[in-house]
Structure formats: C-alpha cells, structure tokens
C-alpha cells in the first residue's frame, strides 16, 4: 500500500508540478483563478434560480427529492463525459507509460497512479457545481447540521463511481483497439463529438420556449412524468441512494442508504482494482503491436493503379485534411458549423427567429427574384466564410514543402490540386444550403439552380484567392499544425477581400434600378464573376511564378 501511495504521489507531482513552467504560464494560471471567481458566482446564481424554481413546484407535493435525483444523475453523466478524455489520455496516450511498465509494480498499482491526476481534476467540477448545488438545496429546504454532514460525505464519493465505471469500460475496450495506430482517429472522433455536443446544445436551447422559467418548466415536466423519472433513477442507484439519504438525513432509512452508498462505492472500487489488474496492461502493451491489416504481395498488387497526377495530388490533399486531427477540426468541422447551425435554426426554431422557415417563406412571395438570388448569394459568401482550406493550402505542407520542388511536377499542378481541394470542402456547405432552400423554404428550383451555378463560381474564386494569399504569406515553419490557424493575418485579409469584392458587387446590383428580374441579374452576376475568376487566376499565376520556388528557402 505504501508503495502504491508513493507511486501516486510521484505521478501527481509529475502532473501538477510547476517546475519547468514559464512565468507566462504561471501568470496564466493566476488569471484563470481570478476569472474563476466571477464565473463561479455566475454558476451559483444560475443554479439558485433553477433549484429555487424546481423547489417551488415540487416541495408542496413532497417530491423535492427529485431535484437531488436529477442533480446526481446530471453529475454522473457530466463526470463520465469529462473522464472519457482524461482517462484515455492519462492511461494510454501519456509518454511515460512505458517507463513505468518496466518497474516492479502490479498493473493495478500503475493504474491507480495513472488515475490520480484525472480523478482529482474531477473535483474541480465537483466543487464548482455539486457543492454549491447541495448548499443551495440545503438553504431552500432549511436543512439541519446532519444534512450538511451527509452532504459532505456524499460530495466526496460522488465522482468516484462514474470515474471508475468509465475507466473499466475504457480498459475493456482498449484491449481490442490498437491505439498507436488509431491515435489520430480517436482525436478526430473526439473533435466530432465536441461538434455534436455544441450542435445538440444549440438544438436544446432553441427548443426551449423561454429560458426564464426553465426551473419551473422542468418541475412541471418531472411531475407529469413521475414514473419515467423513477425509471431513470433506477439506472443510477447511487443517485437514488444519495438523494433519499439527503432528503431524509434524520431517519434510519437515510442513514441506511448512506451506508449502502458507501458499501456500493467500495465494492465498485474493488472491482476497479481487479479489472485494472486483469485488463490495464493488455491495452497498454498492445500499443506498439503491429497492424492487423498486413499486406501480402497479392493484396499489394490490388492497391496499385496508375492515376492522373492532378487527381492523385487532389486525393492526397483531401486525405491529409481528413486524417490530420487539427486540419479536420479547423477545416472540415469549421466549414460544417455554419451549414449545420443553419439547419438547426431553420428546422428547429419554433418561429421566434426571422431566419426560420416559417418566417422566410411568406417574405418570398411577391419579392423580385433578383433580390432572392442576391440575398442567397450574399448568404453563400457569408457561409463560405474565410475558406480555411484555401488559406492553409500551402502552409499545411510545412517543412515538407520542398518535396514539391525536386519532383518532376508542374507548380501549376501542385497549386491546382490545392485549389480543387479547398473548392471540394465547400461543396458540402453549398449542398446543405441547396437542400434547405428547396425542401424547407420552398424556393423555386430555377432560382436555386441559378444560385448554385453562381455559388460554384464564387466558391472557386474564394479558393483561388485564399490559395494565392497563402502562397504570398505562408507559414511553413510550424511545429504544431495549430500554428497555421492561430494569430495569422491571412484570415482577416481573406475576409476583407471577400467582403469588398462580393459585398460591393451584391450591394451595387441590389441598389441598381436598371437591372431587374432573375435573368438580367444572373447574366450580370455571371459576367462579373467571370471577370473575378479571370483576375484571380492572373494573380495566382503571378504568385506561383514569384513564390513557388522561393518560399522554402
């Protein structure tokens, strides 16, 4: 036990030590701490509103234990969500695992050491949310000393159960995953989950008719669905035990449930140690094992095909963007945020927003089609945004840029493949807008078709302009891919060019009294876009000539 304790202390020291941290980082932590004070006050007041609202509705019916039930279930889910990432990175991604494996420790001892840091960080959330919530509930229910004593004990053990269960599931699954080969994929999935989380939150907020009465509404909801709540608590026995023992601290039942909660926690902890002993090393030791998809001569031959160089270069760009976690989140996910949010606004909004399908449709009737096309095109320019795929075209290659220089490749081919890749990424955005325009807002097919053609040209121009800019001012000396997207002027510059170019075009046509109707507007737009395309290609050609060979030196 002493040995385990020393290992845990060592690992915690390594994790939280300030040694080697720059003074800038230390100041950063200090600021974080200072900012945490108003933030926690904000959380406190928000929770006070919700718990107060719920209490008002549920207390007269003697159903106030549901507040605690829901609180503990939410904490349980939140702890699982937070633990997922921290357990995977601490148990499997940390660099020091191999150093510890060679030391004379049992697997469960190393697992306990590795658990310490992610487990303790759960207490930050625990202190920020559960502690004030229990205090607020105590205040509303005029609780006595016994409640607060129970509350402290329950507060202490609450993070343990979700953490331990998550760790057991992860350890079980990791036996089958080859992590070293799937690190990128796991990061990409994590990025997608965060994206889904943000969108999900947005949907929930939109479905809510008025947030002022959230607490009372929830109370009504729980009252109507009493049976459902009990059913839900049945899946979270710890939440059930905690809430009952806290609502009846003076009774024997309350004490009995508290003891039961502790017994259950210890029992699960024992299972955790056993699982660690049996499972942890199996997942860790598999880290450096070879891949299962070995290729033999026959399979290799199947993969070999001659293709057009431009196609292969485009394919390479696409694969690199899809497979590099940073590029995936900064380019693919970023370009999805707007169209997906747009779907959420149009489809899920109950009618408050001027963007919802219900409020756009009547506006369209009797409007000159010119304005519809111009508005849609303006919307496209906004949706395509700064086109992160194009302004990182060249920079993405980083120090590997020189590879394009010794290969017998036309600079034009290399750059065209990059422009094409940026263009392809934005096709998803255009497709989403088309579907929404046709299916939800009922914009006539002719207008959508015209808009689509014009948008494709716009997309091409933004891709060419972005790539030209990146060729002019690339960042090839990065050590971390994120540097390509952080603190560079290029994003703002691209946006300014786009606004000036397309914004003025749309504004002039909008104000012009000479040009009316769908076709006249379309022809003028098409001619202007053709001119933009021509000019942007001239600029790109000049950039290739001046910079392609010199940017790496």
């Amino acid at each position: 036990m002493n040995k385990t304790w020393r290992l845990i202390r060592l690992m915690l020291k390594m994790q939280f030590s300030m040694a080697g941290k720059s003074s800038g980082e230390k100041i950063g932590y200090l600021f974080l701490l200072i900012f945490a004070i108003p933030f926690s006050l904000f959380i406190f007041y928000a929770m006070d509103g919700i718990i107060g609202g719920l209490y008002e509705v549920l207390a007269p019916l003697n159903n106030e234990s549901f507040i605690l039930g829901i609180l503990f279930i939410s904490m349980f889910c939140l702890f699982i969500f937070i633990s997922l990432g921290s357990i995977i990175s601490s148990f499997y991604f940390a660099d020091d695992i191999e150093a510890f494996i060679s030391l004379p420790y049992q697997p469960y001892q190393i697992m306990l050491g590795k658990s310490a840091a992610p487990f303790l960080t759960l207490y930050v959330t625990n202190a920020a949310i559960l502690a004030p919530a229990l205090l607020i509930y105590g205040g509303y229910s005029d609780a006595g000393v016994l409640y607060y004593m129970y509350a402290i004990l329950i507060w202490l053990v609450t993070p343990l159960l979700p953490f331990v269960l998550t760790a057991i599931v992860i350890m079980y699954l990791m036996r089958f995953l080859n992590l070293s080969k799937n690190k990128d994929r796991i990061k990409i999935v994590a990025g997608l989950l965060t994206f889904a989380f943000i969108i999900g939150l947005n949907i929930i907020l939109r479905l809510d008719s008025g947030s002022n009465q959230l607490g009372e509404d929830l109370g009504q909801l729980f009252m109507e669905q009493n049976a459902l709540l009990e059913l839900v608590t049945a899946f979270f026995p710890s939440a059930y035990l905690s809430s009952i023992s806290l609502t009846q601290p003076g009774t024997l039942l309350g004490f009995f449930y508290l003891v039961l909660l502790f017994l259950m926690t210890f029992g699960i902890f024992f299972i955790y140690l056993t699982a660690g002993q049996k499972l942890y090393f199996k997942g860790v030791l598999g880290l450096s094992a070879g891949s299962k998809n070995h290729l033999n001569e026959k399979k290799v031959t199947k993969h070999i095909k001659q293709k057009n160089v431009l196609y292969m270069s485009w394919m390479k760009e696409m694969k690199i963007m899809l497979r590099t976690p940073t590029f995936f989140t900064q380019i693919i996910v970023q370009s999805l945020v707007f169209p997906v949010l747009f779907i959420v606004i149009v489809v899920f909004d109950t009618g408050n927003s001027s963007l919802s399908a219900a409020s756009i449709e009547p506006m369209l009737e009797g409007t000159d089609e010119k304005y519809i096309v111009l508005a849609m095109l303006g919307f496209t320019v906004f949706a395509l945004g700064i086109n992160p795929a194009s302004i990182s075209s060249v920079s993405r290659d980083g120090k590997s840029w020189f590879n394009h220089l010794y290969m017998p490749l036309q600079p034009k081919t290399v750059i065209s493949s990059k422009v094409l890749a940026a263009f392809t990424i934005n096709l998803v955005t255009l497709l989403v807008i088309s579907v929404i325009a046709l299916a939800f807002i009922n914009i006539p097919a002719v207008i959508v078709s015209v808009w689509l053609v014009l948008s494709l040209i716009t997309n091409w121009v933004t891709s060419v302009v972005g790539t030209s800019l990146d060729l002019y001012m690339p960042n090839l000396k990065w050590t971390d891919e994120r540097e390509i997207f952080k603190g560079r002027m290029i994003g703002i510059l691209a946006l300014v060019i786009e606004v000036v170019l397309f914004g003025s075009m749309i504004l002039i046509l909008w104000k012009s009294a000479f040009i009316t109707g769908l076709w006249a507007t379309t022809i003028v737009l098409a001619v202007l876009l053709a001119v933009f395309t021509f000019v942007s290609h001239l600029i790109l050609k000049k950039m290739i000539h001046n910079h392609f060979y010199s940017i790496a030196s």
Partner: protein, 240 residues
C-alpha cells in the same frame, strides 16, 4: 552523368557554395564529404532543383536543371535527409503517388513495389500510415519510392542515418547494382567507413569550396598512404 559547372550560392551574409565544379561519370558511386555547414546540402538542393542556382550551371545527363527543370527532375531520384514526408498517407498510397508523379506504368510499378518493399522488409506495413513508421522504416519507404522509376541519377543526402545494419547492407547493395547498370549514384555522408567501402570517387567540401576531388587511391596517396580516411578527413577540414 552529373555536370556541375562553377556554381555559387549566396545567402544573406554568407556564401554557402563558391565556384564549385564537379563531374560525376556514369556507372560511378560518388561520395560527397564535408563537415556540418560545409555546403553539402546546399549543393544537393541545387542539384535537385530545390534551391535556385545564383551562378553557374548544373546538367544531369545533358538536361539543364535551370532551363529544363521537369525533364531534368524526371531523370533524378532524390532521397532527402529528412524522411518525414506525407506522414498521413499510407505506405502504399505514398508509393502510388510517387509512381504517378514519375509516370511509372501500372505493370512496372506492381513488380517494383513488391520487389523493393519485400527486400526492405516493409511490405507488411504498407497499409499503415507513414506516421506510425519508425525513422528507419520512413527512410526505407522513401528509398523504395525513389527507385520506382529507375532513375538515371540517384542522389542521396545522408542515406544511411537511422537504418539498421541489414537495411544499410541492402541499400549499399542497391547503390552498387545501380552503378553497375551504368547509372550514377551521388551521396553525401559523414560515415567515412561507407565511403571507403562504396565510393569510386570522392569530393570533400569545406566552407563552400572544394578541397579534394579524385578517387580513393588518389586521396590516400595525397594524404600519407598509411593514415586512415578519418585522419585524412580531419586533416582536410582542420586547416580552415
């Protein structure tokens, strides 16, 4: 044949290569030696088209690198000193891409990819991302890619760094075979033992200038017959 005529390369505040002239004939293995910062990599970068030449001319089998870059590059197979290329591609995707760039027909690439990856022992890993390869494996996949189009001139920058003994042996054998077929092999290295084992001709560069050019025997004759190459090398570079 590589023909380097009076090339010069200047960087702000420094002349990296000064008036360098070299000729490497067909069927020869040529070792390019020099201490760190001597100008080896700069010369190789000019030979492969990565850096523009300030003065002078480089021709590869009659093609001028500055005037006909694509035609010249098609004749070269270049193994850079850094093998961290296209890390997110799978081994097989990388080889297919390189074969497309050098226009290697499907049938030939099938045979070459199988032969080369088998002899370097990386065939099993072709379906994995290069990111997961060790340094040695990355070096091997780059060498495989370079040899797919059977280049007339093979240029290698510090090629043996990080390779295990078996793979070093295989690579050296490949360099010999390449030269035996009447093609040119040009490589830079710090490993003097390799130079002794492999090279028909040697050049030593220091501070951007050529210090010695000739065959091994000549080199040894010139600098006391009984001293080993390491001492010769040190003698050459210590004068500056």
């Amino acid at each position: 044949m590589i023909d380097i005529e009076n090339i010069t390369k200047q960087f702000p505040g420094k002349v990296a290569v000064r008036d360098l002239t070299l000729q490497v004939n067909d069927g020869k293995i040529f070792g390019f030696l020099g201490p760190n910062g001597a100008g080896k990599s700069t010369t190789i970068k000019m030979m492969t088209g990565i850096l523009p030449i300030d003065q002078g001319r480089i021709t590869i089998n009659g093609s001028d690198m500055a005037k006909q870059p694509l035609e010249t590059k098609q004749k070269i197979g270049y193994v850079p000193d850094r093998s961290d290329v296209f890390l997110r591609l799978k081994g097989i995707e990388y080889l297919n891409y390189i074969a497309d760039v050098y226009h290697v027909p499907t049938e030939i690439r099938k045979e070459k990819i199988n032969d080369l990856t088998r002899s370097f022992g990386i065939q099993d890993a072709l379906n994995d991302h290069i990111l997961t390869y060790s340094h040695g494996m990355r070096q091997k996949i780059v060498v495989c890619g370079v040899l797919l189009h059977d280049p007339e001139v093979w240029i290698l920058d510090e090629p043996l760094t990080g390779l295990d003994p078996k793979s070093s042996f295989t690579l050296k054998e490949m360099m010999r075979e390449h030269a035996k077929k009447g093609k040119t092999v040009f490589f830079s290295t710090h490993v003097l033992e390799v130079v002794e084992q492999l090279c028909d001709e040697v050049a030593i560069i220091n501070n951007g200038q050529l210090e010695f050019l000739g065959d091994m025997a000549e080199m040894k004759r010139q600098f006391k017959d009984d001293e080993n190459l390491e001492k010769v090398f040190l003698e050459l570079t210590q004068h500056e």
